[in-house]
Symmetry: C2
């Protein structure tokens, strides 16, 4: 089994660093240094349930999610490690499908999976498959995006409809029967981000995954000391997502996304950033949803013009969402 798995990975992920079969991948630092001056590194474990869902699967998610966390720094994600924890008895065909999805997504992203590890645990000690990926890339020397750049009066932009991933998983788990109308937005964001590297006034980017836009706004507020005020009427939402939220009394701002950016940009850069985002299919529905304030708080202006605090949800809204 172990050797079968190794052959599977070596075939699916083949690249010089992996093929060398050493205990560690060896990557020429000159390649990274020619692309930038800082190494961007991000890690995530993926435990999503179910592992296959409309719009993706745990393998695609494990590549996109980590690649996106690297890409929002301005780096081009280049390399990935992959650690798998498999439950004994996982059907081999299921593993093959996940691995092939990882390989295809990595290839699409121009990333190499350079090193990996597999652990098989007895039945019941894990649920089917967990994947950790750690991603690397170099941040171009001229780019310095981050929460330290955020200023009062900046514009807050999202790159598209909100909550698609969270609503899709919720629908599957709760059997709401909206499969035909919902799909995860799981996607590689680096191509959407690339044109922004050349626009002055981009302050900070995050992808709004677990915890949704609410979590990102709270992170931005806490780290920058600025307030974040968004406008409910400005939020791009798909009708099916809006429907689920109304039905269950939930807020799409708290739903996970797997292919959506939250951006803070200088007012002067707003039009150029919006235009750049909308030129890409993933950014077609990009919209300004609010702006930053002086006093640190996170608030939303409702449909009747009244501003209310946007608190972090007390509970994890949905376990194993990613």
């Amino acid at each position: 089994m172990q050797s079968l798995i190794e052959e599977l990975f070596l075939q699916a992920f083949a690249n010089p660093a992996l093929n060398a079969r050493e205990d560690q991948a060896r990557i020429a630092l000159s390649e990274l240094c020619s692309a930038g001056d800082r190494l961007a590194v991000s890690t995530d474990s993926y435990v999503i349930d179910p592992i296959f869902f409309p719009g993706g699967d745990i393998g695609k998610l494990a590549v996109c999610g980590t690649a996106n966390d690297v890409a929002v720094s301005g780096a081009q994600p280049r390399y990935l490690s992959c650690g798998l924890i498999l439950e004994e008895g996982l059907p081999f065909a299921m593993l093959v499908r996940v691995v092939q999805s990882m390989a295809a997504t990595a290839q699409q992203a121009g990333m190499q999976i350079v090193t990996g590890d597999t652990k098989v645990v007895p039945r019941g000690a894990a649920d089917k498959i967990f994947i950790n990926t750690t991603g690397f890339g170099a941040i171009p020397a001229r780019v310095d995006w981050g929460v330290h750049q955020i200023r009062q009066g900046d514009s807050i932009i999202v790159s598209g409809t909100l909550g698609d991933h969270g609503a899709t998983i919720l629908n599957l788990r709760e059997g709401l029967g909206l499969e035909s109308e919902l799909a995860s937005d799981c996607a590689l964001l680096a191509p959407l981000i690339a044109p922004l590297l050349h626009i002055a006034g981009v302050r900070a980017l995050r992808d709004a995954t677990r915890g949704g836009v609410t979590a990102v706004l709270h992170e931005f507020a806490a780290a920058s000391g600025c307030g974040m005020e968004i406008v409910e009427a400005a939020l791009p939402l798909k009708p099916a997502v809006r429907g689920i939220c109304e039905l269950l009394g939930l807020d799409a701002l708290n739903f996970a996304n797997e292919g959506k950016l939250v951006l803070v940009v200088a007012p002067a850069a707003e039009a150029e950033v919006l235009a750049a985002l909308r030129q890409h299919p993933l950014g077609r529905d990009a919209a300004v949803i609010g702006h930053t304030l002086e006093r640190q708080q996170v608030s939303v202006v409702g449909l009747f013009g009244v501003s209310r605090r946007l608190d972090l949800p007390l509970d994890e809204p949905l376990p194993r969402i990613c």
Copy 2:
């Protein structure tokens, strides 16, 4: 809970990259480039059961294991990522103990845990705690250790007694009652490896973890095309480990180690390498255990002078050993 965990990590692992609280760590490439010309990257998931054991715990293991996989390339391990999967209901005190052990081990290693992720899964979807670490460091330009360097007639050396980790876990699982005589050899190997960087004729290093020395010899043989012949009488074994093997009919060569090197060195370098290893407490019991042959095979010369094939075990000898 999520914020409690975040505070725990930020306090225990504090360093500039982590403190920035971005979605990715940002590390000056100049620091890495001044140490070498290739980035060494290794990843491992740790699923050991039990999570606390004589000589270590899953946290110490997760730092040492990955640091060692980086160090055997000749690189000084410098940075780690950390991905945790926690079972809902894991006692918080247990998590604190593991995290503090990780922090203490990383500090001892001179490593920074620069980025991380935590997922909590419902009770029964994982067993207590799984940890993934991905480590990296730069390989000095003059160092080129690896299986491609192995030649016929080289010496095979181990850095100390074999099977201590595997025997310790086996003893706990099977209730053999040898707790006072056995402890895992879980340790950071970079200090033991550092003096070897200055010795000509070092061909290849591996740390003999899961699968033991047998697995490393098979990897060396398959990748180099050379045979590996070792001598049973030359193997350094602690009496308690030897006792467990005789009692249960097992081979310590297949037992996992977590602080032992297998080295292939040129015959002319043998004495110098042995002396360097023995100067360090971790290498006190270093010994030449065999040599490489022309024809690709792995064999062991028994106590009566008869050579037999050393096959890979058909089954995983012990699940969740690391």
